[in-house]
Structures are given as C-alpha cells and as structure tokens.
C-alpha cells in the first residue's frame, strides 16, 4: 500500500518537474520583446476596449501612444483628461487638454408630438427600418426608437425610454466614446462639450424639411424660422436647410434662443429654473414645452 503511494508521489513530482522545465524553455524561446511601457500605459487605460479613441482597443491605443512618440490627435474619450494626463506623465509627452464631451440626442419627437403613421413590423433594428423607408412617422430625420444606440453602447449609458420612445443618455456614465453616434442611421446623436457646470444648449431636432412639413410631422420640430439666429448675440446659431444648429464653440449659454424658439426645439440642460416672466410669454401655443422638457432632465440630474 505504502509502495503505491510512494510511486504515485514520485511519478507526479518527476512529471511536474519535466513539464515545468518544458514550460520554462518554451517561455524563454518564444518570448516576444515588447516595450514595457505599453503594459504600463495599458494599465492606466479604462479597459473598456470601446474603440472610442479610433484604435482597436486599449492595448492598441497604448501601443500607438508609445510608438508614435507624440500624443497629438490621440485622446481617450472614456478616461478623459485625467487619464491622458497620466499617460503624458509616464511617457514624458505633451498632452492637449480637451473639453469633456457627452452624447446628446438631437430629436425630441416623442410619441405624443410625433404621431405614428405606419406600423413597422420588421426586425427591431433602426438600420433595417432606415433601409426600408423614412420611418414610421412623417418625419424623415428623427429618431426611429428601435434602440441601435442602446445595443451599441458599451457602458449601458443610453437607454430607450419606453414612454417617449426616445433614447436618454445617462450623464454620469456616458464617456462620449461615440459608439452610439456611429450606430445611429439617422445621425440623431451628436457628441457635444459637456459645458461649464454641465450646462448645455442644443437644438433637439434634425428635421431639414420646410417649416410647415416639419411641423405637421412633429410639433416639437425645428421649423427653421431663424428667430434664434436673429436673437443670438454671438453668431453661434446658423440655420441651413431649414434647420438651426448651435455651434458649441461660440455659444455663451445665454439662453436667449431657447426662450425665443416657438416649438421648444432648443433644449437647455442643467440650467437653474428661469425667473418667472409673467408678461413676456411668447404667443406661440407650443412655448410651454420649452421649459418643460429640459426640466425633466434637470430633475434627473439632481436625483
């Protein structure tokens, strides 16, 4: 009996030693020399492998940073300036600061204001629907609500709200990696600077139809009336193809345009509530929608 145990122990030990030597030799022979800094840099990366930087993953990005010898044009949107600063320190390179960005949904055609005019019965994918026709509403530019952005987001930060049928971005977890932007066939999502104190102002509409057509399809649509363009003191707003666009680089967040917009297409996020202005209420019937919509977002932020 003790004999068997002894033999077992000896065989297993010898086997272990032989295999360990094989492993050691193989590791020695096939070792690939890599710049050790790549590992260091990779360790500082967020590790989401989202591809938001334009490279095939965090290690690819780290390799590129080490090899290029300059950090020009290289930015990890997920880690942001904090991570890039560490990367710069470790590599002894200059880092360009970038204003943090966030994804914003430039469509406010929820189920109440944008009636469904047909019944979509295909695969639950925006790309499939967009390849077929303009969408199940009369707006050819708006969100299709089938959730390609939700499926693409590696951080679970964009979700379709079932009551409005529109995606909502969670500002705390969105890293502006851009996955949703490229997933959306209607180019409804845009990356915009987060803004000071997270305050942002943008046109929540992509409709390039003429005002009447756009308005008929969706009462929240930008109708290209140019009121905002005129009221803006900083030339930040331009109206092309019946659609207003606020240039975040020029916008000083004065909010004059949002008050002027007759359809409430301009959204203000995270601003303090406006002081009540009893007499100045514009005549347009849709005006109350303007403060109402951002208010929900402000509330969410405060939660």
């Amino acid at each position: 009996m003790s004999n068997i145990i002894l033999i077992t122990i000896v065989t297993m030990s010898v086997l272990g030693i032989i295999l360990a030597m094989v492993l050691y030799l193989v590791a020695k022979k096939f070792k690939v020399e890599e710049d050790p800094r790549i590992d260091i840099i990779e360790a500082t990366m967020p590790g989401a492998n989202c591809g938001g930087c334009g490279f095939a993953g965090c290690r690819d990005f780290a390799t590129a940073c080490v090899k290029a010898g300059s950090l020009e044009g290289k930015f990890c949107p997920v880690g942001g300036n904090a991570v890039m600063k560490i990367v710069g320190e470790k590599l002894g390179l200059q880092v360009e600061e970038k204003a943090p960005s966030i994804a914003v949904v430039r469509c406010n055609g929820n189920c109440d204001v944008r009636p469904r005019t047909s019944i979509y019965d295909g695969s639950s994918s925006c790309r499939v629907s967009a390849s077929l026709y303009n969408g199940d509403t009369d707006c050819a530019f708006g969100c299709l609500g089938l959730g390609d952005c939700e499926a693409a987001c590696p951080f679970d930060s964009i979700k379709i709200n079932r009551t409005t049928g529109l995606p909502e971005v969670n500002p705390d977890t969105c890293t502006a990696c851009g996955s949703c932007v490229s997933a959306c066939p209607k180019q409804v999502i845009e990356l915009r600077p987060k803004g000071p104190k997270d305050r942002r102002l943008f046109v929540a509409c992509r409709n390039k139809d003429k005002g009447g057509v756009a308005r008929k399809a969706c009462t929240n649509a930008c109708i290209g009336c140019k009121k905002c363009e005129k009221v803006c003191n900083f030339e930040a707003i331009s109206v092309t193809d019946n659609l207003a666009y606020i240039d975040p680089a020029k916008c000083r967040l004065c909010r004059k345009c949002a008050a002027e917009c007759p359809t409430g297409a301009i959204h203000e996020v995270n601003f303090p509530p406006r002081p009540p202005k009893p007499a100045a209420a514009p005549a347009s019937p849709a005006a109350p929608a303007a403060p109402a919509a951002p208010a929900t977002e402000t509330l969410k932020k405060e939660e």
Partner: protein, 334 residues
C-alpha cells in the same frame, strides 16, 4: 386614415412555430404512448403525466422565481422532455423517480445552460442517465407490472433482451444458446411489443409510425436516424459474420435497447444535434459506432443514451467545421 404595415420581405410565413413543431413531436410519440398504456395500464399513464407535469412545473417555477424571466412553457418543449423522459424509464419505476429525473432534466440540463436552444445535452437523456447512475437497481428492474390487459403469466422475461444477452455471455453461453433459452426474444415479439424494455420502446412498430409522421410533416430530416441505423447495421453485421457466437446480429441490435426510441426522438433533438445535412450524418455515424462499442465491449448492456450524450458534446464542433453545400463552390476569377 388607414395605417399601413411596413416590413422587409418576405411578407408571409410557413406558420411553423416552435410550439407547433413540439406539438408534432408529441403527436408522433402518441402511438408509442398508446401501446404502453395498453400493456402497462395506469402505470404508464401515471408516468407520462407525472413526467410532463413535473417538467412544465419545474420550468415555470425556475423561470418565474429564480431567473425572473417570462416563462416559456407555452412552447411545449418542457412537456416533450417530460414525456420522453417518462418513456425512457422502466415500467415499474416509482412516481418519485420520474419527478427526480424531470427536475434534473429541466433544472440542470436545460435551464442552467440558458433554456431552449442553449442546452448542450439532451435534457431527457441527462435526466435518464442521472437516474441510471444514481438508482441503478430501480433503473434496471425490468419486471413487468400487473396490468388489466395481459395475463401476467403471458408476460415475458424480466430482463431486457440486451441484458439477457449480456448475462448469458458472461456466464459463457453463446448468443444462439441464449436466444434458444429465451423464447420471448424473437424478433416478432420485439417488433410487436412483447419484450421487456423501457415504457416507450415496447413496440418498434409504434415508434416507426411516429418517425414516418415526423418525416411527412417535415419536422425532422431522416439523415440522423437513418445514418444511426445504417452504422449499427453495418458494424454489427461485420462482427456477427466474423463470430455469431459472441456478437449479436444487426436486426437484433437495431430493434432492442432503445435504438429506435433514441434514434428517432432523442438523437434528432433540434438543439443538441448538428444543423447541416453532412454534419447530421457524421453525428449519426458517431452515435452508431459508440452504441455498438458500448454494447460489445462496455459493462452496460445498452448504450444509446451514452452514445447520444457523447455526440451531443461534439455537436458545436461539428456545427463549426461542417458547413452545408454551398451553391457554386468556386469563386469567379477577376
């Protein structure tokens, strides 16, 4: 204004659904069920009912309270598993055996892998093999219960044909002698439901009826079943010709030990069998070979359950490497 429906083509559907396919399998099993009820009476009804009800209940409970998803019992796949499991048990097994088997089949073999479509092994077979290993005495008790319809003195041998052969061979007899000693082992008895065996395999003819129904309704394709049969027939045929004293012949091997039940209803399980025709043939040949190997050289007298489970494990590999015949194989130059 009238709303129009919009979708990509095609705009019509064959109307086959998972539920209708599973219902077809149940219909195909009904001749075998009827025959077993005829021979075993209430006992058979009780086993099939307990199996089906337990499987459905276990699936509903686990999905509702553990996985917190919408239960999928409506697709009838759990019911099929329950019926198949019951038909694979010995006729004398107690009711709690069926329940234990059902819990293992659904709870362990099916839902832990993600439910229908994701399980690697055939749930009913996992349940059966679990019982076979855990309760070997009960699972090899082939004595025939008292029934309303047949006189118990008419009832044939207590052992299954294969077990009888195995025991006989162990005691040094030749196949011919064993068959001579057991008059109940004639082919006509096996085909028309006399020989001992599990509840469902009492009549080969009833199982064949089910097979034909499945083929006519295009529920399954014949590739797997036929390749199992051919493999078993050819391999056992060769050995039988070499030495008929030690090795049993092809017809005997095809008709006994659950080959029919296994090859028609278990091996063809959608989830755990390969999808392309060529892969299905490889899978069938594998099952046939392993079955014969277990029967001739293994310690278990039967082997179909183990053979199917072993080939189940190869199914993902077969699916990965065996593709269907493509239309226009070569690529156009330039």
């Amino acid at each position: 204004m009238r709303k129009l429906i919009v979708s990509p083509s095609p705009h019509i559907h064959s109307k086959d659904s998972t539920r209708s396919l599973m219902a077809d399998v149940l219909i195909a099993l009904s001749p075998a069920m009827l025959v077993s009820v005829f021979f075993y009476g209430l006992q058979a009804i009780q086993m099939v009912l307990v199996g089906a009800v337990t499987c459905v209940a276990v699936e509903w409970l686990i999905q509702k309270y553990l996985q917190k998803v919408k239960p999928t019992i409506n697709d009838l796949s759990a019911a099929v598993t329950g019926v198949l499991l019951a038909l694979n048990l010995p006729p004398n097994s107690p009711w709690w055996l069926t329940i234990v088997g059902s819990i293992v089949a659904i709870g362990v073999a099916k839902l832990t892998f993600g439910g229908l479509g994701h399980n690697i092994f055939n749930p009913a077979l996992v349940g059966r093999v679990f019982l076979l290993i855990s309760f070997p005495v009960l699972m090899t008790d082939w004595s025939i219960p008292a029934s309303w319809f047949i006189n118990s003195t008419d009832a044939v041998t207590g052992a299954t044909p294969l077990a009888a052969i195995n025991e006989g061979l162990a005691s040094g007899l030749s196949v011919k002698d064993i068959l001579a000693q057991n008059p109940g082992l004639s082919y006509s008895n096996i085909l028309f439901a006399r020989a001992g065996g599990s509840v469902g395999e009492i009549s080969g003819l009833a199982l064949m009826l089910g097979f034909i129904y499945l083929l006519v309704r295009r529920v399954i394709r014949p590739h797997i079943t036929i390749s199992i049969w051919l493999t078993i027939a050819v391999v056992t045929g060769i050995f039988w010709l070499i030495n008929p004293d030690v090795y049993t012949g092809p017809v005997f091997n095809l008709l006994t030990g659950g080959v029919l039940l296994g090859s028609i209803f278990m091996a063809t399980d959608y989830v755990t069998s390969p999808m392309a025709a060529k892969g299905q043939i490889i899978y069938g040949i594998g099952i046939g070979l392993i079955t014969v190997m277990i029967r001739y050289w293994g310690s278990y007298p039967e082997g179909v359950s183990f053979a199917i489970l072993i080939m189940n494990a190869f199914t993902p590999l077969i699916n990965k490497y065996i593709h269907p015949t493509r239309f226009g194989k070569e690529v156009r130059n330039g």
